[in-house]
Amino acid sequence: MADSNAKPGQPKAGVLLDIRNLRIEATVYPPGEAPKNIVLVHDVSLTLEKGKVLGLIGESGAGKSTIGLSSMGYGRGGVRITGGEVILNGRDILKGGKEGFRKLRGREVCYVAQSAAAAFNPAHRLMDQVVEATLLHGTATRAEAERRAVALFKKLSLPNPETIGERFPHQVSGGQLQRVMTAMALCSEPDLIVFDEPTTALDVTTQIDVLAAIKDAIRDTHVAALYITHDLAVVAQVSDEIMVLRHGRLVEWGGTRQIIKEPRQQYTNALVSVHEIEHQEQNPGVTPFLSVKNVTAAYGGGHVKVLKNVSVDIYPGQTLAVVGESGSGKSTLARAITGLLPPEQGTVTFDGRPLANRLADRPKEDLRQLQMIYQMADVAMNPRQTVGTIIGRPLEFYFGMRGRERDKRVAELLDEIEMGKGFVDRYPAELSGGQKQRVCIARSLAAKPKLIICDEVTSALDPLVANGILKLLLNLQQHEKVAYLFITHDLATVKSIADSIAVMYRGEVVRYGSKSKVLTPPFDAYTDLLLSSVPEMEIGWLEKAIKGRRMASAGN
């Protein structure tokens, strides 16, 4: 524990926020069972000094956001603070009641949400929303608040700071909105800002700019912050101290350097070393089984070109990773290969013969050979079917298996994804995120395909769970000799799974080749930007990366 931890009962000078033995509960309503109480946060204590940044880190369900929001006396969706004290500026805010919460929210403590795009009201102009809290609490006149907002827009290097406030949220990009939201939080000059995963929803090349802007703003305004994220490398850039949480309990709390360099707990160690999967790149075979040749595709009847002259090859039993930021055409490439978006020009050949452009024109056998796994496993499964039915369906459809034969194969597949037979009768809602994704993998394997297209399959998962999925995919590849087209924006994932890599930018493949070749300098400008934007677990990385960049990111 850090020595800044105040002794109970004696507020230390300079301490802004002192949370003592915080206990947070919620009532859950499991289907078919009586409602029950669960404890989300178990007696967590923390202190934060004025002007300091404390990073809260952990996987989903660790209680990070719940603890962060407790500093504003807010519980999301029926969450209740049932014990402990939250001492802000020397008083226990939990005793202030509703009226007390309302007075401190937006004035002493402000909040920056994960998705600014959803957190801004689409019906109002940005400026009205930015100054709303300031005017509500009467800390400044409208003219003064707007002047302050424009100054903050400038500080956060937003384009056209004088006029951007006149825009509506849909007229501004996601990275810019995230910065406007930071300006909104700073506008009422609070003592504390809760940043709740503020860069998680952004592209890696945009994240770095927003992160730098947030860091500068925190430094210049001397505001204290709770910075919530699941990405240790990100939090290492902005925090003075880091607190690791798991299942609502404190795991480890210490200075940033200590946590990332000398973690004392096993779990922290696992987080720090999470992405290190050894994967030996395979040499490309002689003939690819699937070739995409000069494919051009467009939406809106040819108006919006989303793929421009794209050519890639996939070799049996190997993995081609497709990387790029959102809107670069990664998923569209998958749609063109599967026939969901018939290409305007170019061909997709499979085993030496061209595949029909349209999905509807392809024979069942071609459909079987190409399977897909999606980012959102829970919406890719019918919630009213059991795991057994979900995995058994392709067995019936492609191979006509029935009864005992099918059940036996389902059991084998469950074994392969390292889930026991006990899961056959479960419904998707009863599975964790990682388990759901495993079921989706089993379903695609059931068709015995030559190629599985994995579209951001680990992006929605916690790092440790994602790691398990990647290891499983690699194992399965060895046993089943299946090839992957692995779409991702996460370069760390690419390093651990790919044999060859295609870097996409604005619908074009800008760099393509074996993994070692693509990841070896000299780089083209875009690949350089992409690689240098991936946060590294190193103090001071952010400043170095910003300084060393050759090209500004596009979508910020």
Binding site: Y74, L104, G106, C110, N121, H124, A133, R167, F168
Partner: protein, 319 residues
């Protein structure tokens, strides 16, 4: 206003006009296939074949249907709705006063019902799932569930017969002073309000509750806004489109659906006029009233569409 929005609005209006033309064909065709001979109806059973033939010739009943349709449509477009068979009066002249009466009644019912429904909806959301919400929903549902003639007679029984506060028969005439006129329509307007209130209130509640799940509502709460300010400033503006739709549907009902209420209170409006002439098999009047009702319905729905388009900031302020 920007160009795409004007284009969308122009499209809606053009579609509305097209729809109205299609409906005019349906109304005309519908009244043509009704059994019975107009000439026979006018002259009665004892008419001689010669006089029947003469009258048919005179009414143009021997022309092919499409000629009669265009003749009728041409008349409608120039403001000539034809002559009522039963009374021989010009339909346009007799409708004018009655349409005005109906609009007067609908207007005052709407002035009360629409704001009341929306405010009750907002209050229901504010105290959602609490007893206030349940009370509002329960009362509103009850008032809608009773048939309007029942509500009407109930009002008459208490307010006209027992306490004698308002007249039971809503007679209005030209040149009637405003105050007396208002007193005359008090009961039918109340009956109409009770009938349309619940639908609008419940849709307002549902539309706002839907928006209450959004992240921006949480943002507003975390700025320290009071619960009601959050609903009014942040949830309501994003729920306007569905609310406008249901309000317009109910306004249309206030105008075209008042038949029963007008008959109960013997109010000289369009509804009573229609009922009178249906019983007399006066086809030109039924056609004219049907067309006017269709036009009202379509215009109000166009207004709802335009309202929804204008309420959408993405359409109002394109990228």
């Amino acid at each position: 206003m920007s160009l795409p929005i004007l284009k969308l609005i122009a499209q809606r209006i053009a579609l509305g006009i097209l729809l109205l033309l299609a409906i005019s064909v349906l109304i005309f065709a519908g009244t043509q296939i009704l059994p019975g001979d107009v000439a026979q109806a006018i002259l009665g059973q004892s008419a001689t074949p010669e006089s029947l033939a003469n009258l048919r010739e005179q009414l143009g009943l021997n022309d092919p249907a499409y000629v009669r349709y265009f003749h009728w449509l041409g008349g409608v477009l120039t403001g000539d709705l034809g002559t009522a068979m039963s009374s021989g009066q010009d339909i346009a002249t007799s409708i004018k006063g009655r349409l005005w009466n109906t609009l007067f009644l609908a207007f005052w019912a709407a002035i009360v019902a629409v704001p009341l429904a929306i405010i009750l909806g907002l209050i229901a959301v504010r105290y959602r799932n609490g007893w206030v919400d349940k009370l509002i929903s329960g009362l509103a549902l009850a008032s809608t569930s009773f048939p309007e003639f029942f509500v009407g007679y109930l009002l008459v029984y208490f307010f006209a017969v027992k306490w004698q506060m308002f007249p039971a028969i809503s007679t209005v005439y030209d040149g009637m002073p405003f105050g007396e006129r208002m007193q005359a329509i008090a009961l039918p307007a109340t009956a109409l309000t009770l009938v349309v209130l619940a639908h609008m209130m419940r849709m307002t509640r549902a539309a706002i509750l839907n928006v209450m799940q959004s992240a921006y509502v949480e943002t507003a709460e975390l700025k320290g806004l009071s619960a009601f300010a959050v609903i009014r400033k942040h949830a309501f503006p994003n729920a306007i489109a569905p609310i406008i739709n249901v309000v317009m549907l109910n306004l249309a009902y206030l105008i075209v659906g008042v038949v029963v209420v007008e008959v109960i209170f013997v109010y000289p409006g369009m509804g009573q006029y229609l009922v009178d002439h249906v019983t007399k098999r006066d086809v030109p009047v039924v056609q004219a009233v049907g067309l006017i009702f269709a036009a009202v319905y379509i215009s109000l729905n166009i207004i709802a569409d335009i309202g929804a388009i204008v309420a959408n900031p993405r359409l109002r302020h394109p990228k």
